[in-house]
């Protein structure tokens, strides 16, 4: 009995230690990435290639996701307002705030985790298990500089850009439903959208910047930690996606609380 209890204590303890160690390693990876980012000349070709790939890979899924999210938001809020006021009021306001402050950044980040986070973890993980990461060292190139830094720069620029684009698509989706389903005149809808504050828009973009950091760091970390052949690459990829999605959702709550406390948005 005692032994069983102790065993449980040990395994919980071991898990906590492992978690603490991983956190430390993540911080170390971020620090080294920052150091190389500041120190080494920018590998423009590599960064641009990464950006193009990230954009191309997430573009269609993000568009589809946000278009329908905007449409369904308009539909739901329209019917709710009809119940209360007998009239579909404020659809533009509801769609604008929900998309631009919340759903645009979060949904785009979730799609980005699934597409880009997975790709980064799989690429770096494959290079790790096939000793290509070791080969970089022996050819005088630091893997963090060569692999992590370009992906890092590309991700923190591309996710906010994609988010701006998603916001637009989401709002257009809302407009389609507001206009064709509820016969709201375009002027009314777009006026409500344009009445949004700059701070509300920045609220969403600041969050999306933070999400990009979470996703790219998690994915690079999982990639560099990969071991155990093809199976290990699979594990690293899944784990990168799941971990970054969870961190994005948790991070979203705390960031929202923080930004609101700072009166941003």
């Amino acid at each position: 009995m005692e032994e069983i209890k102790l065993g449980a204590v040990y395994s919980v303890g071991a898990r906590i230690l492992l978690l603490a160690q991983s956190c430390g390693e993540v911080v170390a990876l971020m620090r080294r990435t920052m150091q190389w980012f500041l120190r080494a000349p920018l590998d423009r070709r590599n960064v641009l290639m990464q950006m193009a790939e990230m954009g191309a890979r997430s573009f269609s899924v993000t568009s589809l996701t946000l278009l329908f999210t905007g449409m369904v938001l308009a539909l739901q809020s329209g019917f709710s307002f009809i119940k209360v006021f007998n009239e579909p009021l404020y659809i533009g306001r509801v769609v604008g705030v929900s998309i631009i402050k919340e759903l645009g950044p979060v949904l785009t980040a979730l799609v980005f985790s699934g597409r880009i986070g997975a790709a980064i973890a799989a690429e770096i993980g494959t290079m790790k298990v096939t000793e290509q990461v070791d080969a970089l060292y022996t050819l005088g190139t630091n893997p963090v500089k060569y692999l992590a830094v370009p992906r890092f720069i590309a991700a923190i620029t591309m996710l906010p850009i994609l988010t701006i684009y998603s916001n637009f698509i989401g709002v257009v989706g809302g407009y389609i439903v507001a206009n064709f389903r509820f016969q709201i005149p375009g002027v009314v809808y777009w006026d409500e959208i344009y009445s949004m504050q700059i701070s509300e828009v920045s609220h969403g973009l600041i969050k999306s910047l933070a999400f990009s950091l979470i996703i790219v760091t998690t994915a690079c970390y999982k990639g560099f930690k990969t071991s155990g052949g093809a199976e290990g690459v699979g594990r690293a990829t899944t784990s990168a996606v799941v971990t970054s999605m969870v961190l994005v959702l948790i991070g979203d709550y705390f960031l929202t609380a923080l930004l609101t406390a700072l009166h941003i948005g």
Binding site: E131, Q132, D134, A135, Y137, T138, L139, G140
Partner: protein, 253 residues
């Protein structure tokens, strides 16, 4: 040139090295033989600083690896060319870009010159016209040779070959053995070769050492090894399953 002192290394309490010591002189071709899983690749990786030893010291060109900072270690790595057992070619780059990788990143060699060096190094390993292909389009033996060309591109002072001839046909094996010899004669570089190919080992080595159970069992000139009276060495070099080395018993029902 390279000195390994009393090296210990284990992976998750599974010991691989239990006190390995060896010394490689400048200009030597030093061959390491030993059974599969005795830690030959792990030893080479410790010498380039890819794996840190648990205990013991490694000196490369009189620099003590364990005390170097990341940057100093990188300087040591710059003078070492490493041929990986599984080639480890960058599969997102073409063959030409693979071979040119070190030159582009570490030297200020100009582009036309780089193209010329790439062609020349690929020709040395018997490949031509493959610059534009991707590694996935080559056979295992071809990849291995590209790996050799890539390691040689920078004319490093030290070359570490992890099984350079495994997976090559007998003729190409001999070509590579001769190449290792030629490169040494030409540039006076030092080489460590891990191999299972005893014929090549006798031909090219200045000295041979055998790793066994985490230690250096015996080291000496090719003829000393060939005529060693250690039964384990004799069994290994003659490639027999009968003798003191534990082997799985075959028991088909």
């Amino acid at each position: 040139m390279i000195r390994v002192e009393n090296l210990f290394k284990s992976f998750r309490s599974k010991p691989v090295h239990k006190g390995v010591s060896l010394e490689v002189q400048e200009g030597e071709i030093y061959t390491i033989i030993g059974g599969s899983g005795t830690g030959k690749s792990v030893l080479l990786k410790q010498i380039v600083g890819l794996i840190r030893p648990d205990q013991g010291e490694i000196y490369v060109d009189d620099k003590r690896l364990t005390t170097l900072s990341e940057e100093e270690l990188q300087d040591v790595q710059k003078m070492i060319g490493y041929v990986f057992q599984e080639s480890a070619l960058f599969d997102s780059l073409t063959i030409g870009e693979n071979v040119a990788f070190g030159l582009r990143n570490l030297s200020d060699t100009k582009e036309p010159k780089i193209t010329e060096i790439v062609r020349e190094k690929l020709a040395l390993v018997g490949l031509s016209g493959v610059e534009k292909l991707k590694p996935a389009q080559l056979s295992g033996g071809m990849k291995k040779r590209v790996g050799i060309a890539r390691a040689m591109a920078m004319n490093p002072k030290i070359l570490l070959y992890d099984e350079p001839t495994t997976g090559l046909d007998p003729v190409m094996s001999d070509v590579i053995s001769n190449l290792i010899l030629e490169v040494k004669k030409h540039s006076g570089s030092t080489a460590i070769v891990v191999t299972h190919d005893m014929k090549a080992a006798y031909e090219i080595s200045s000295r041979i050492c055998m790793l066994y159970e985490g230690k250096v069992l015996e080291a000496g000139t090719p003829s000393q090894i060939r005529f060693s009276n250690n039964p384990i060495v004799q069994q290994f070099i003659s490639g027999s399953s009968e003798g003191p080395i534990p082997v799985p018993t075959i028991d088909l029902v």
